[in-house]
């Protein structure tokens, strides 16, 4: 059928009767980054939660490698290879760095865990340096690395990321984005929600603009960046603004406590 790793169609979901998603569709192929952008409260985080099973969809479908997985609990989806790095609560704070990685490996069959842990440790030297430190005592950027490692150790085929650059210094954010490109190289499909919409769209082969729980626009990242409506409404810029931008002018960083 299709080569989609993840296919979401007409997804409806919400919290205790309050409908947040009212028909969202997206797809991600292996080795491709897709970006989801949109204003605060559009339902971006809810979309990731509904895909991963943390929030139960009311209508619509989530198809993972050709299998309908709509409404499966998160642990089953993780075992099938869906990884999710939430925005804020993304590490186990009272566990050490090494323990965080070990817990991430629980999604794998017992026999595969040791090797997967070793390979993630080899990939991120930081984990070895700080293996015995409690994750709750790390800086924001360091936490992101542990959070990524916690998800990657389960060898996901699709990775959902909620605002990977939020709260990071521009330099740390660039490191995370560089890491994501490497992850993509390995054939992992990435669905990324980002506040830094320009940077995200530039990295992505496709972008989706979410507004009021619906997909308002979609298209190749570069095209969305040039679409005057998208720029005006969602990128907070002037439509004709094609001048080279200062490095971080689009990074709206807001220290919200909600994820």
């Amino acid at each position: 059928m299709s080569e989609d790793a993840l296919l979401v169609s007409d997804l409806h979901a919400g919290y205790d009767g309050a409908l947040v998603l009212r028909g969202v569709s997206l797809e991600a192929r292996p080795g491709e980054i897709v970006a989801v952008i949109g204003p605060n409260g559009a339902g971006k985080s809810t979309l990731l939660k509904a895909i991963s099973g943390l929030v139960r969809p009311i209508r619509g479908r989530v198809v993972f490698h050709g299998t309908d997985v709509t409404g499966l609990p998160p642990d089953r989806l993780a075992q099938r290879g869906l990884g999710f790095v939430p925005q804020l609560e993304n590490v186990f704070p009272s566990l050490t760095v090494a323990e965080n990685v070990h817990v991430g490996a629980q999604a794998l069959p017992r026999s595969a865990r040791r090797k997967a842990v070793a390979s993630v440790f080899a990939q991120f030297p930081f984990l070895r340096e700080r293996g015995r430190q409690r994750a709750g005592t790390l800086s924001g950027g360091q936490r992101k690395i542990v959070a990524l490692a916690r998800a990657l150790v389960a060898q996901p085929t699709v990775l959902l990321l909620d605002e990977p650059s939020a709260g990071l210094s521009p330099k740390a954010a660039e490191m995370v984005f560089a890491e994501l490109e490497q992850i993509r190289e390995r054939g992992i499909g990435i669905v990324m929600v980002e506040q830094n919409a320009r940077r995200a769209l530039a990295l992505s082969s496709r972008g989706y603009v979410l507004d009021m729980g619906r997909t308002a626009h979609e298209g190749p990242g570069g095209e969305l960046l040039r679409d005057p409506r998208v720029v005006q409404l969602y990128l907070g810029g002037l439509a004709a603004d094609l001048s080279p931008r200062r490095p971080d002018s689009s990074a709206r960083r807001d220290p919200r406590s909600r994820s």
């Binding site: 991963s52 642990d75 186990f92 566990l95 070990h102 817990v103 629980q106 794998l108 998800a151 406590s257």
Partner: protein, 294 residues
Amino acid sequence: MFWQLLANGFVTGSVYAIAAIGVSLLYGLLRLVNFAHGDLMAFGAFVSYLANVTFGLPMVLSLPAGMAATAALALVSDLALWRPLRLRRAGFMSLFLASIGVALVLRQMILLLWGPQPRAYDVDPFKVYVIGDVRLSLAQVATILVASAAIVAIALFLARSTTGRVMRAMADDQALAQLSGIDVNRVILLTWVLAGLTAGLAGTLAALVQGSFDPNFGFQLLLPVFAAVVLGGIGSAYGALAGGLALGVATELSTWEGLAGGVEPAYKPVVAFGVLIVALLVRPQGLFGRARIV
């Protein structure tokens, strides 16, 4: 006198610590303040009594019997009550009230089965061990040995075993644990088993040290056990162990004459809560608890 009090404190404290571990884990994983924990301990003590006195088994066999029965009861309580409540997304207050209900039912059941009269295990109450100027009864010596071994085993289990690690991870963040591929219902069942085993152990040891016990004795242990949990930082597994030991030792040592004459032994519970209040004023999150970020 100091060493005698320290030894007594360790005996009491280790019982608190072992019971507190279950309370803390249940809170960490389920946000359940288990008001029935004292009665779970009493249940374990009475099953041990059944094995020891009614069936005439030695304590070495009666204790595991009491622990196993308590674990089974805890397991059934999850399947029959707590899991359905979770599925209905019962809130904190509903869970708390339900646990009060379980406490009352358990206590009445124990009363019905064993009657209100005080009981005692079939152990020699007059056998005394003397080490230096410390005098310990057989029950105290047995408790020190068994409790030390148990505390080391529990701490190792939590620190090193995969299941222990997963339990701590779930206490930190249940959603993230699920996203990591962990079947939370399975881990919760294992937690109930651990809580039951430790409650049965603590209950039997407490009964053994006390000498005589009645169906209400578990409830009397509940407050100091809760205090130990809060002192250690509620939800923290290691904290519960430390909190229990600290509370037991502090309570007993408070009667030491070297300490400005010491307090009247009758005021020991007051001391326990004094320690708790002062500790919480200094460190509101408890010894091992995490400070709230928001």
